[in-house]
Subunit: 136 residues, 6 copies
């Protein structure tokens, strides 16, 4: 279902954090981790009609509808990794207002603010590199 020359969706979305995120899911339950990798990402996400940026903007808004669980931050980063501008992410979140009302959207912009704030801070010099908890 996937063009062999294109990178996998999960490689772009998760970037360098993919091993850590996959390990965290596998630790919750190895089958759950496998279902997410094999079915959610390598089967559904890798369908060919939409480009990854659009998929990630859709993912962000679906996560807003679910009350902005920690996955929202992962997919905000995924949308930016896939080429979306900050303005595009903001307008995608804003489009949720007429469909879902303001409280869901305020919560989403809080997540966006935390993500942008964490990027502005200089990276810590400890060896392990940045680890943002709560991501998936």
């Amino acid at each position: 279902m996937k063009d062999d020359t294109a990178p996998r969706a999960r490689d772009v979305i998760f970037g360098t954090q993919q091993p850590r995120i996959q390990q965290r899911l596998d630790d919750l339950d190895p089958d759950l981790g496998a279902y997410i990798r094999d079915f959610a990402y390598d089967t559904v996400y890798d369908r060919p009609a939409l480009d990854l940026k659009v998929k990630e903007l859709i993912a962000c808004t679906l996560l807003v509808s679910l009350g902005s669980p920690p996955e929202l931050r992962t997919h905000i980063r995924g949308a930016l990794n896939a080429g979306a501008t900050e303005a595009e992410v903001r307008d995608a979140l804003m489009l949720c207002v007429p469909y879902l009302g303001f409280p869901r959207v305020v919560a989403a912009f809080e997540v966006l603010r935390h993500h942008l704030a964490s990027k502005e801070r200089p990276a810590p010099v400890t060896g392990a590199g940045p680890v943002d908890s709560g991501d998936q």
Copy 2:
């Protein structure tokens, strides 16, 4: 908030059915009709960062999250009117599976099927032209 040379989102989404749809909303409540036109469409929808096709694909998936109310059909048509292919609409609906589960998505594909089936039938020759109930 809008580029004056671009058509308004609601002109493209609703197409020739705009007067009928706006009238139906105004009949429910004139203020409700005005809020949808002035705030939802002419303020939020006309924000400039995303193109209308992406906005409409996002709208479709948000309506799947809400249980596929009648507005889903309007925005499936809106996505197609804005240049989305049928395959893009299908992949947007399918991307809801990992976030929302199957029942919401099955309901959405039922709406898509009804819409596609109504387009295949030859238009009735009565004077009033096609009117699809339940649209917004």
Copy 3:
């Protein structure tokens, strides 16, 4: 928990249709019918701090949040029976817009419109009296 001189909430909300509505619930399941009468109405609804009109306006908006199931029509009628004006019902439904978005509210105004339309029609002269299906 109830002032003995005040009418029971369910007497006002259901009016002359109370026997029919209770019978319909008992037919679904006698225990379910009893829980709704004894717990929902005679315990929770009959709490003393709020007047019934306010309770029914709250009930209407909670039912909007649930996607306007058939109970919404019962409680729109209940709010009117408890002394709410049509304008108060409309403003209660409209207050859902900033919290829940437009699709839930459009569905609610459709229910209101059906209720108001059914009241405008002259009652049928058949013996059985008015029966509006789908009410609870």
Copy 4:
């Protein structure tokens, strides 16, 4: 993930209607039909720890939480096919009251009532056999 001597979950749940139901899903979208069969049923449903009756009672209550879409009827029938008694189905639906409130549960008992009523009627003598629309 499945004991080879046990029947597949979908064989028991759908019974003689499996070809019709699978065809309906494939008609909506062939990939959607395949995901439901291969992932939802043959991967998740066929996990070994719980017996099928318990799985179907859980499925029923999850569908109540989603607002009782048409799939609820399929899984009420599935629970009965897997050996649940009518009293067990009723108590599973009733257990949703403290978690989800009454409107969701009333809607579910309406579905149960329709299912039970359709079984009491003598089968039509036309050749095609019984076909209950709206099932999945």
Copy 5:
């Protein structure tokens, strides 16, 4: 849409914390802050049919339906600011039990408890004045 002699809904609801709350929303996104102020409050909230106390009790219960996001505390305070008694707030939250079930309501009473507890403590004597995080 507003009686010029009546105070604005947001002046009463937010009280002395209005500048802080508006600033927090504007920091998330200036357009989001403007939409909430101009559309949610100065257009929808200032509709004339219901008094502000009733609007705020409705707002509280809608926020219970959304899972008690931080805005619930703002509107519990808003209901009290608009003249609701603690008993009225408790009965409004309790009325959510038959519609939404217990878990949503337990979460709401936790928010109420936190709000009441914070009011009982003597104000700190530091210069900056009380700041309750998480409010909107």
Copy 6:
């Protein structure tokens, strides 16, 4: 509605923590505490058709549908107290994937992981005994 020789559902579910949990609910609101004890547990939960293990597995999945509020941990423990194995709890949570999607299920497995991790640690030797906050 209850076999007098069987233990009450809430005795098994809450175990030794019942007094603490009931006190916490009563502190939120004495009527709320009474409704949960008398209606939710001693009326609905004590219905006779299903055994307690099945009821608790259903409760767990309904709480997943609600976004895994703190009650989920109580009922994971309740399911284990009622005789469910860890594998049965895992398969019940996993069955939510096709109905609710992955984010709700990931959140639920996080709760399970916290519960299992807290049991592995040796109990503190302070006098008061273990108190896990956020339980109900």
